[in-house]
Point group: C4
């Protein structure tokens, strides 16, 4: 146990002088179980998406033709799969530098999970409504749900920084990079949502691009932190 | 391995003189896998809730109007999401101080998981029945299910204390705080359930408030325990 | 790393002279991930059960009356929840003493998971068919699925013992106790299945009793093993 | 912490001089959480398969007769269960020798999970269309999905080798064995898919045989690696 938060009596000691109920001042352990629960919700939400892809076959229609018409369903499936998958990677990257968890962080994380678990509903609506006014409505809801996720990520990050829940040794430059990254993400998703008012499919395309940009684009400057996961 | 229950021959030894089948006298390991299984059930139950949110669109009705009428479905989704999320946090907080697991604890935990996994059913009924006698019935079942969860938490806690399954070093004051907390929770959920006889939506509001109060309100006094998770 | 299987060059070494692809001669690590995957499947199967509990309300029927008729659905839900929950506990108890995993063990475990994941189907049929010849058929399938689980547990246990995959230091008496336990379980579930030919509900009652007896009844004699999970 | 990648200042140090956001140069930790997320998706996909097995009972038909006609559904369930189960084992075997994770590996793994999570859809179609032109179409989609999985495994493996993400000490012979194994798997699944043009059920039989051959057939030569999971 090389990671020794100030609450610890000293290295080698395994007494925690004050174990609060919610683990507010506890060490790495809480973040690990919060990540495990979040991983579970994200893994289930991403896998449930397929339950809503239904290939409707008209009487006398061949399966090949029906599959051809299932394009929007499969496209929406792929887009939401990408969003949740990259959100998982982002969640993982973020919580690697969170050393402590308090009640409001639990609540902000629950808000994020609530938006992610809600995503199958707008995904289904987007696949069902591909033209007319309803296509605009469906895509607005889809974009708003992703914007809600971006907002929750910002709340988690701001709360973590303000309450000193970050791992020791995260550089100020790194923090600023993450600040910019998260605010830019929020702005980008909000703008992509508003595009639904003009052309619904633009929302799907731009949010997919944003997610890929998040994963493959520039990362925050490398941080020099005390490894919170070191045994 | 700094946590050494009396059954161990001594520090540094990795012989367990008596490994019972169900892990009655085993150390931290069992609680960890019980938590992992419980995390899984809670994560799945919380994510399945969305499957029951159906936006029913009448012929000639716009999607926007249909979404407007989905308010009760989405409200019930949000309420149950909050309940299960905070129950997860509470389960996690509780099992951090459980050092040993026996058969009856497994059974009591299974009872809790059974009530949680059952919650999607009353949630669906509450969303479908928003007026008349059926609204009372649905909300009674919803409240009763949450009261069942509170009851199972009490059974788990009482059994843990009586059989000496708690981690070493939990203060008597801390125990008393948890006693009060859990009994008050049971009473609160029971009272909220009975409110369904008068005004169904009160049950939903009061149970949501109770959950938030549990998370954000006063915690049990800080405990001074031997960290059971220290490597 | 205090657990040193013979393949290891010596304590303190972290070279594995031969890491086979499937982990046949690898140490604890493989069993841990096999347990994690199995936990996942069991947790999902147990939570999906509720999706099949449908409260069918006839026109003009009150929700209270409809719930009264949902008795068989809720009873079948509770029975299968108990079966899977206790199977999880049993799986956990068994794999605590498995030190090594090979390909056939993976396959036997997959067979077990396949029967468990199949259980929601006969559970639904049992709830739908409560009288007449179909009740016998549904309960025969339900009992046969549980008997399949018991068979898979026996295959896992026999293979583990024969191929020397057990943790070191498990006493011969302990092995004999588990032998008897597992064969008795298989016989018991088989007999309970055949009862479905006479009186379907007896199968549900006897299998529930068997599961509770497994959890709360006599355990195998305490074993003295080298703790495979010790860090 | 005996596993010391070059980025580490030295053994005993717990400073990571450069922690990139996505963990590109981080050690074992990332691979562990990637495996946990993948385990979750695979466990859910395998368990959701049963939701699509529906026993349709015609008016006046006995349940026994209806079950007799559910043969294709149950066969398709068993085949896909086997595929996902063995893919899980293969995924686990592969990631035991991956020491580092970068962004493209995350994306390639997401592609694999996307194909696996998609499998319930073609499985359902295969069970519903057992004759005529639609049987060919359904089986082509089923085979193509499995071929997509094989392709994603190849992408993951190639990327891991090229970017030096493998654990230290994996022999060149071992790498060549895995190269051949993965390319042969891709070719085999592709050929099995094309068989659907001639005789649909051959695709199901040959892909099941390929999976069993993967699990029970010859493994890559034993590798001598530094155990990345050693504590």
């Amino acid at each position: 146990m090389t990671h020794t938060p100030p609450e610890h009596a000293g290295p080698g000691s395994n007494r925690r002088p004050a174990l609060s109920w919610w683990g507010g001042n506890a060490d790495r352990g809480d973040s690990v179980r919060l990540e495990a629960f979040s991983d579970g919700v994200l893994a289930i939400a991403i896998t449930l998406l397929i339950l809503d892809v239904r290939v409707e076959q008209q009487p006398g229609q061949s399966l090949a033709a029906a599959l051809g018409h299932a394009g929007p369903e499969i496209g929406a499936y792929a887009a939401s799969f990408l969003q949740i998958g990259i959100m998982w990677a982002n969640h993982h990257a973020l919580f690697r530098i969170v050393a402590r968890v308090d009640q409001l962080l639990l609540l902000a994380n629950l808000l994020l999970l609530g938006f992610v678990a809600f995503l199958p509903l707008p995904t289904r609506l987007v696949a069902q409504h591909t033209s007319g006014a309803d296509a605009h409505t469906a895509m607005l809801l889809y974009g708003a749900t992703l914007t809600g996720c971006a907002l929750a990520f910002n709340l988690i990050w701001r709360h973590t920084v303000r309450r000193g829940l970050l791992a020791d040794g995260v550089d100020p430059e790194f923090r600023r990079d993450v600040d910019i990254r998260y605010l830019a993400g929020l702005g980008g998703y909000l703008a992509a949502t508003l595009l639904a008012l003009i052309q619904p499919w633009l929302t799907l395309a731009v949010t997919a691009l944003l997610a890929l940009l998040f994963l493959l684009g520039p990362s925050p400057r490398a941080a020099s932190v005390t490894d919170p996961a070191a045994p």
